[in-house]
Amino acid sequence: MSRVSVPCHVKGTVALQVGDVRTSQGRPGVLVIDVTFPSVAPFELQEIMFKNYYTAFLTIRVRQHTSTHTPAKWVTCLRDYCLMPDPHSEEGAQEYVSLFKHQMLCDMARVLELRLILRQPSPLWLSFTVEELQIYQQGPKSPSMTFPKWLSHPVPCEQPVPLLEGLPDPSRVSSEVQQMWALTEMIRASHTSTRIGRFDVDGCYDLNLLSYT
């Protein structure tokens, strides 16, 4: 299924913390990232993709466009999705993650704004966030081809010609030929990627020093 990237504006992360951020000792364990789509009309969200950086749990809230005059409300579409099974260890800490429409709790038909709520309960990490955030919507469906009329509206079958003696059944022959054609197409499409095994260049392996780049 094709998908199209939606240009989004990711606002700076806001830390949620009790008390004054400057004076208190601990680091915030909850961050909020707002994602707006200034130049795009309300769209249907297909996929959210990002690279994790030490976030343990993710909650996503979405504000959708409503046709009536009621103001759009925030709805939670993903609750406490676990990115790191053990928040104190490195497992899952820098993985690439994709979240799809079917994993969401609500319909994502007319998305106006997204709010990502990141949680990292472990005090071991200095910072946490998500990077390379990308939002995708459904791509255009493949253009419908116009079939020639005789293909889409076949004429009704004529009376089959009576089989001549000694000739094979035409429908059986055609199915066999179809199968063989399919096999030859498969062979043509395949190619190998084996190495040849030569380590020298035209028989010469006279080297400089090892390079550091």
């Binding site: 993709m49 800490a93 059986r172 199968q179 063989m180 395949s190 084996t194 400089n208 090892l210």
Partner: protein, 526 residues
Amino acid sequence: MLQEESDLSLIIAQIVQKLKGSNLYAQLERQAWDSLQRPEIKLESLKEDIKEFFKISGWEKKLQNAVYSELSVFPLPSHPAAPPEHLKEPLVYMRKAQGSWEKRILKSLNSMCTELSIPLARKRPVGEQKELLNKWNEMGTDEPDLSLFRPVYAPKDFLEVLINLRNPNYESGDSLSFRTHLGLIQVPLKVKDIPELKEFFVELSLTTGQLGIDDSTQVPPELFENEHVRIGQKVLAEQDSAAAQQYIRQGSPTALRAELWALILNISSQPEDILYYEQLKTNVIQHDLLVDSLIYKDVKLTASNDDYYFVFEDYLYQVLLCFSRDTSVLSHFAYNSASPPKSYIRGKLGLEEYAVFYPPNGVIPFHGFSMYVAPLCFLYHEPSKLYQIFREMYVRFFFRLHSISSHPSGIVSLCLLFETLLQTYLPQLFYHLREIGAQPLRISFKWMVRAFSGYLATDQLLLLWDRILGYNSLEILAVLAAAVFAFRAVNLMEVTSLAAAEAVLADLSTLKVMPLLQIFLFATVT
């Protein structure tokens, strides 16, 4: 559901692509062509009939083994947006650390090259080629002057790098707090604890028969050993890799071990493989590499001095010199955090068409590298088969023991697992050793890097390596290291210096591996 289906088809596509270039594919094609002569293959149901023929003639089993082998070796396909270096190693700081370690090794090799004025590679003159060909089976008798060569690095240099490994996002204040690790490794990787290890190694439990315990002379063979051997023979007759891997978790009978390992690693000696080995031998004869001298030095320093392995000295040269020329090893760098060193043909610096890897297989041997091959010489006597087994063991397991990665079987995780097990279950011992300046990892690191080769008696080592193959993981090395400390805990509590602690743990040749593991995992009171 959608996601799992697309993941599965991605895995299938990847495996098919890999197998297309293999010998097996050509053989299956040939078999399919030949089978067209058979009367039961009909044209209209060609696909089904050939599939049925493969099933009956055992070729489907070979294909199954090949697919199983691919699944065991290659990591699952990652996220489509992940770049290739993410597949090698997902954590950025570990990639950087591996990069700087490699740079150090390259600098060391380059300086050795310039100091000794020896080229990295040179073509042998014809006379020298003839001489080497004649001496191929007795290269051990050669006594070249290797006094100026030194190993590029030793395990203890690598340990220092691992000790200094830090995650920049990790809170590690100057003062000791709950965040500081008490051991030497300071990165918070996820390691298994004993309940998880008990589940993972469930076939080693007290109620399951083991070779290494239940085949000792006091135990009548009817209780376990005879039946186990019978099942082993059946597994070999079926030629099923997955069944062999499950079977070998309880140990392999000595008579069946060579074949079982070959089955699990999916090695079958075809004429093409013997030809490939001969080709590598020709490459050795034609070109002389600086790395060859490092290999010679390593074999002379380690295996030749070992009571068990000195007889195999010639085999070791035949395997390791060919290994350095084998470009098929380069494919394992897709999932190894390390990268092969690069160089350019003389006079063509910077031109990509003249860029080559050095050595051709991309692996620079370190002090003790030859000990990975030595135990295999007990099992395989035919050089090309010995070579294939070693190469497969290297690209599946041994490479993880000397590269910096976050993989659960990587050396960093093994060190952390060892230290965590020791701290959790022998806290007094750990504290005592730490107080006297004898951090336990300093002693056990060399055991784990060499997979205990050269430290245990050979029969015990082979029983240990049975389990590495059976569980497709190196974690058992860390568990054994902790079990050895637990076994000698009483003596260790009385030592007062690192040297004395080393002396207590210097000789492991009398240890029996399986009872130690069983007691540590399943019989220690927690």
